[in-house]
């Protein structure tokens, strides 16, 4: 029992701070901050909206936040990542979507910047859903408004039907899409291409 691995299952959400000295596999959701001396794996379908400070970072799901990995970062082909990235080794597979700044040099400075940042939720139990989104998240949300053509990158080859675009729109928070189902109305251009292919 001593070395049971840590897994956040697909139906579980953590908001707050996670620290540890072992590997962590995320299949569900984490909001807040993650600090590990080992590997963080964000699996396909998982979302992490957090500042991340780990040794190795493997991303196949969605991550929004500032990421520091003291050894390596790997974005798999299914990764959807927004935020600045600092690590001496950075690998991206074809198909990975990323927006942000990469720094393979001064990890110490980046780490100091991340760790000095407080988790944006002072009380553990209150209003986790109303926590203000990290600053970066506002930008990708502007992709589509109903009745308007999308960004110039994605010409309106397929008209946006009101049913599709309207449904998730108003209800969802104006944030980076968390689940595949919410990807209709607020998807950045890169994610829409993916949807169209299906």
């Amino acid at each position: 029992m001593a070395d049971k691995e840590t897994v956040i299952g697909p139906e579980t959400r953590i908001s707050g701070e996670v620290r540890g000295e072992e590997d962590l596999i995320v299949r569900g959701h984490i909001d807040g901050k993650v600090q590990l001396t080992q590997t963080l794996t964000v699996e396909k379908g998982a979302t992490v909206q957090a500042d991340v400070d780990v040794r190795h970072l493997l991303i196949a799901g969605t991550v929004v936040g500032t990421m520091v990995a003291s050894e390596s970062v790997k974005l798999a082909s299914t990764a959807r990542v927004v935020g600045d990235l600092a690590s001496p080794r950075v690998m991206m597979e074809a198909g990975a979507a990323y927006r942000g700044r990469v720094d393979m040099g001064d990890i110490a400075a980046a780490r100091a910047a991340v760790s000095s940042r407080a988790v944006q939720r002072p009380a553990a139990s209150e209003k986790s859903t109303t926590r203000p989104a990290p600053p970066r998240m506002a930008t990708p949300a502007k992709a589509v408004v109903v009745g308007k053509a999308a960004a110039p990158v994605a010409p309106a080859t397929r008209p946006v039907t009101p049913a599709v675009a309207g449904a998730p729109g108003p209800a969802s928070p104006p944030a980076f899409p968390r689940v595949a189902g919410a990807m209709g109305s607020m998807t950045p251009a890169w994610a829409k291409k993916k949807i169209r292919r299906r």
Binding site: M1, A2, D3, K4, E5, T6, V7, I8, G9, P10, E11, T12, R13, I14, S15, G16, E17, V18, R19, G20, E21, E22, L24, G28, G32, V119, R121, A124, S125, S128
Partner: protein, 104 residues
């Protein structure tokens, strides 16, 4: 397979919500709300208000517990806080301090 496991070196400060079984071997502070079972294993420390279907404590739990079905304190477990559940089992050797509410 236990769906969510918090390993022994992990410290979580915040809130955990979920629809699947949760096993804690590490430390959790804040609030836990799960639709199914919660297991606080030996060596684990939980300082949180807890809501779950069934709660099994083998480690140390500080906080108020609402178990919709069953709360079980194993031998060697320590719990401080109010317990509310229709069925409560306290094993010989368990330590407990707090109110018990079995809705009677």
């Amino acid at each position: 397979m236990a769906n969510t496991v918090i390993g022994s070196s992990i410290v979580i400060d915040g809130e955990i919500t979920g629809e699947e079984p949760l096993t804690i071997l590490g430390t959790v502070k804040g609030k836990i709300s799960v639709a199914q079972s919660l297991a606080v294993e030996a060596g684990a420390t939980v300082e949180a208000d807890v809501e779950a279907q069934t709660v099994t404590v083998s480690g140390r739990l500080t906080g108020n517990v609402v178990a919709r079905e069953r709360l079980e304190l194993k031998p060697e477990s320590k719990m401080v806080g109010d317990a509310k559940s229709p069925r409560i089992v306290i094993a010989d050797g368990a330590g407990f301090k707090g109110n018990v509410d079995m809705d009677v």
